[in-house]
């Protein structure tokens, strides 16, 4: 049963100001990234094995570079660091502006959806699972 764990998480999230205030502190109060849009499923990979104490980078930036040694989506980064998606977008913007991460936005045709070959690949991939 995961019920109790989930309940505890809900309580923590709503608990006073802590989790709401902290993300703001993490971004220095900024609500928007300096560059990029960062869809929930944009994939991110680090361009370096690690970053040192470059000026202007906080521990959360360093943590993202660490996480993104393996390819991660924006949603996964947010979940693993336990930060709201909006906060993670701002941090990713900082990293992208320094070329510390490479980002792939979801592939889409002008109509806004992936092409047919992607649909077929998903069907085949699911069958083979």
């Amino acid at each position: 049963m995961t019920g109790q764990g989930e309940l505890a998480e809900h309580e923590w999230v709503d608990d006073h100001a802590g989790p709401v205030v902290r993300p703001y502190a993490v971004t220095g109060g900024r609500a928007r990234p300096v560059t990029g849009t960062f869809d929930l499923i944009s994939l991110v990979t680090a361009t370096r094995a690690e970053v040192g104490s470059e000026s202007g980078l906080g521990p959360e930036h360093v943590a993202i570079v660490g996480l993104c040694q393996r390819i991660q989506s924006v949603a996964e980064i947010a979940a693993h660091l336990d930060l709201p998606v909006g906060t993670v977008r701002v941090l990713l913007g900082d990293l992208a502006a320094r070329s510390l991460v490479q980002v792939r936005e979801p592939r889409a045709t002008p109509a806004g959806l992936p092409d047919d070959s992607v649909f077929e690949a998903v069907i085949n991939g699911l069958r083979a699972l």
Binding site: S42, E120, V122
Partner: protein
């Protein structure tokens, strides 16, 4: 930005393509269970923090109040191949979070609407939403024990669905069952695309 001087190791594979499917339906209908049944890890949770500014009605001073609401979304990942990753997102249940749905639905290749026959009406808002947006969706009837068994065409009629919309049975706890639902959705989405292309060409 200097794209020429990439610091990624030379010859590194290009990043995979990511796609998403939404899992919608009423409260407690099995969305998180379904996501967990096919994902490679247990469902992850991500949050959007929303800040709404409004004047409190009971507040005689008329001072602006900022309320923050956290909307949680469950999601899972299925790595289908080296260059294809599928994400399943459970939609937040509350109707007042439509704008989160809009963000989720943008670029989604389709949606699964989970239905419980004991409270079919719970999935009306999801169906209305996807119909309105033109997002391809299938209805998956989650078979809870003790629920009266309905024929799928009865469910189709009760939901007042376009007869082309697939209605299937599923057990959200079973990986094979969920795989089938997802494949049904993808095949239907491809068929719809083909039809829309043809209609546009006429």
């Amino acid at each position: 930005m200097d794209y020429g001087r990439s610091e990624r190791p030379a010859g590194a594979a290009p990043l995979p393509t990511a796609i998403k499917i939404l899992i919608a339906g009423g409260f407690g209908v099995g969305k998180t269970t379904l996501v967990g049944a096919v994902s490679e890890t247990r469902p992850l949770r991500t949050e959007e923090v929303l800040t709404e500014t409004g004047v409190g009605i009971d507040d005689l001073s008329g001072v602006e109040e900022k309320t923050t609401t956290t909307v949680a979304m469950d999601f899972g990942r299925i790595t289908l191949s080296d260059d294809l990753v599928l994400y399943l997102f459970g939609t937040p249940g509350q109707d007042r979070f439509w704008f989160v749905w809009d963000e989720l639905a943008l670029g989604a290749i389709g949606a699964v609407v989970l239905a419980d026959t004991r409270r079919l009406a719970d999935c009306f808002p999801s169906i209305d939403y996807f119909e309105g947006r033109g997002t391809p969706f299938v209805v998956a009837v989650n078979c809870f024990e003790g629920a009266k068994q309905y024929r799928l065409d009865e469910v189709q009629g009760a939901l007042d669905l376009d007869p082309d919309v697939p209605v299937v049975l599923c057990d959200a706890r079973e990986r094979e069952s969920v795989k089938e639902v997802l494949i049904t959705l993808l095949e239907y989405a491809m068929k719809l695309r083909e039809e829309r292309r043809r209609a546009a060409a006429d």
